[in-house]
């Protein structure tokens, strides 16, 4: 069981390592979307600081969505998804493994980049700390919920955009609690309430999402 989970994760990490540029590009997307805003909005530091948490979080959402559309699609196209579903191990572990691998590949690096972006927007150290913490708790939610969407839209035309359409509304609580925690810190209130709600949401997602993903996969490849 655990061996299977680890194999699935190792496989995806290996594939990501093989696609050298791809992984880096996704991180660049994140940086760029965030950096677009000062260009579109104007350079006032006060306002930029105000919008920073929201912008970083929305960019994290979009970056994860972009990579999610390929979470199962590549494996589906080349037939290896079928082969994995024909493995004797339970599909729910496959779903969980894929989501965790996605988080390790695309979510974790965001945590490293976020502080730099925070500095760009003139955030204080403590605010940046909360930003990172909120991303640490929140990004697994993005991967897990996203995997549900990726499984549902598998093989459909326009899967990527459809995925966005399905999943963005479900991301709302993560976005609100995550950006809310940072906002609260900016406003001098504590982030604890938001963070613990975010953590609860993450736990719930962890319990539910892999099962739904596994069911959706079986339906989609039929």
């Amino acid at each position: 069981m655990l061996r299977f989970l680890i194999t699935v994760i190792r496989r995806d990490l290996l594939l990501a390592a093989r696609r050298k540029g791809d992984w880096l590009t996704s991180q660049f997307f994140f940086v760029m979307v965030v950096s677009m805003f000062p260009l579109g909005i104007g350079p006032e530091p006060e306002m930029l600081r105000r919008i920073a948490p929201g912008v970083v979080w929305v960019a994290a959402l979009l970056a994860s969505l972009l990579s999610l559309s390929r979470l199962f699609a590549d494996d589906h196209r080349d037939g290896s998804l079928e082969q994995m579903l024909l493995s004797p191990e339970p599909p729910v572990l496959l779903a969980l493994g894929k989501a965790l691998a996605h988080w390790l590949i695309y979510g974790v690096p965001l945590l490293v980049i976020a502080p730099v972006l925070g500095l760009q927007f003139g955030l204080q150290a403590d605010v940046i700390g909360v930003l990172m913490l909120s991303l640490l708790i929140g990004t697994p939610v993005l991967s897990l919920l996203g995997s549900v969407g990726a499984a549902l839209t598998l093989g459909l035309r326009g899967g990527g955009v459809l995925l966005t359409l399905l999943i963005l509304p479900l991301y709302v609580p993560a976005l609100i609690f995550g950006a809310g925690a940072v906002d609260a810190t900016l406003a001098g209130l504590g982030p604890e309430a938001n963070l613990s709600l975010l953590a609860a949401f993450a736990m719930l997602t962890l319990m539910v999402a892999p099962w739904v993903t596994a069911a959706a996969l079986r339906i989609s490849i039929e």
Partner: protein, 245 residues
């Protein structure tokens, strides 16, 4: 034997039942809507604060209620469908979704129309407004998913899964949005707390709500009959039915 009753008899008998129900609910909806509108425009007093514009409430509130209620019903049918693989359940949730989306849109639309005179803005990022918007997005997502999937069985099941995930999420979304909104600012614009709403207004709203309910049932029945016919095209009873007409 019971298996085959599940699989075949159910849509067939339901087709007839739905046919009988449609006139009742259509007429019910029409009469109640007439009554409700009469109350709304002739019996309810002009609001001393808001003037006549407030009368949109008689559409707005029932629409908002129905949009949420229909989602719950869809979630129920989806759960039943996934658990027992009953084909009729999936057809029901497919038949309901457009009406739900319509009501969600209607509540947004009427709310926005009302917001302009009341708040001076078509839209504010209030908690209730925002969660209505998210609900509307959910409806759109579900319909988009169905329309993207050609295979009927896959579409049914995938849609049902999405509806259920959404159903778990909707309350969470609702509270998160509420909390988000109040955290920042002490309710820049609070929706009116129904301060001692006149009994006649409440009555009008209830009547309109029941009318909307009847309307939803009637429309859903019409749609479900269409879906049944389309899906059971190759069965004997549909062929007979089509030949009779």
């Amino acid at each position: 034997m019971s298996f085959s009753i599940y699989k075949y008899a159910s849509p067939m008998t339901f087709y007839g039942l739905a046919g009988k129900m449609i006139p009742w609910f259509s007429w019910g909806a029409a009469i109640l809507a007439g009554l409700g509108l009469y109350i709304a425009f002739f019996m309810a007093p002009t609001d001393f604060q808001q003037g006549e514009a407030y009368r949109v409430i008689f559409i707005h509130v029932p629409a908002a209620w129905m949009s949420m209620f229909i989602y719950m019903v869809m979630a129920f049918w989806s759960a039943v469908g996934l658990a027992w693989n009953t084909r009729l359940s999936f057809m029901m949730s497919r038949a309901l979704a457009p009406t739900g989306a319509l009501f969600a849109f209607l509540s947004l639309w009427t709310g926005a129309m009302w917001g302009k005179p009341m708040w001076g803005a078509w839209w504010v990022w209030d908690a209730r407004l925002t969660s209505s918007l998210v609900l509307f997005f959910l409806y759109v997502g579900i319909i988009a998913l169905w329309s993207a999937i050609d295979d009927r069985r896959r579409g049914d099941k995938a849609g049902a899964l999405l509806i259920l995930v959404g159903a778990i999420n909707v309350p969470i979304i609702y509270f998160s949005v509420k909390w988000w909104n109040t955290l920042h600012q002490g309710a820049s614009v609070s929706l009116m707390q129904a301060p001692s709403m006149a009994a006649i207004m409440l009555m009008g709203m209830l009547v309109m709500a029941i009318a909307a309910w009847f309307y939803s049932i009637a429309v859903a029945m019409v749609r479900v009959r269409g879906i049944i016919l389309e899906r059971e095209r190759q069965t004997e009873w549909v062929k007979e039915l089509l030949e009779k007409n």
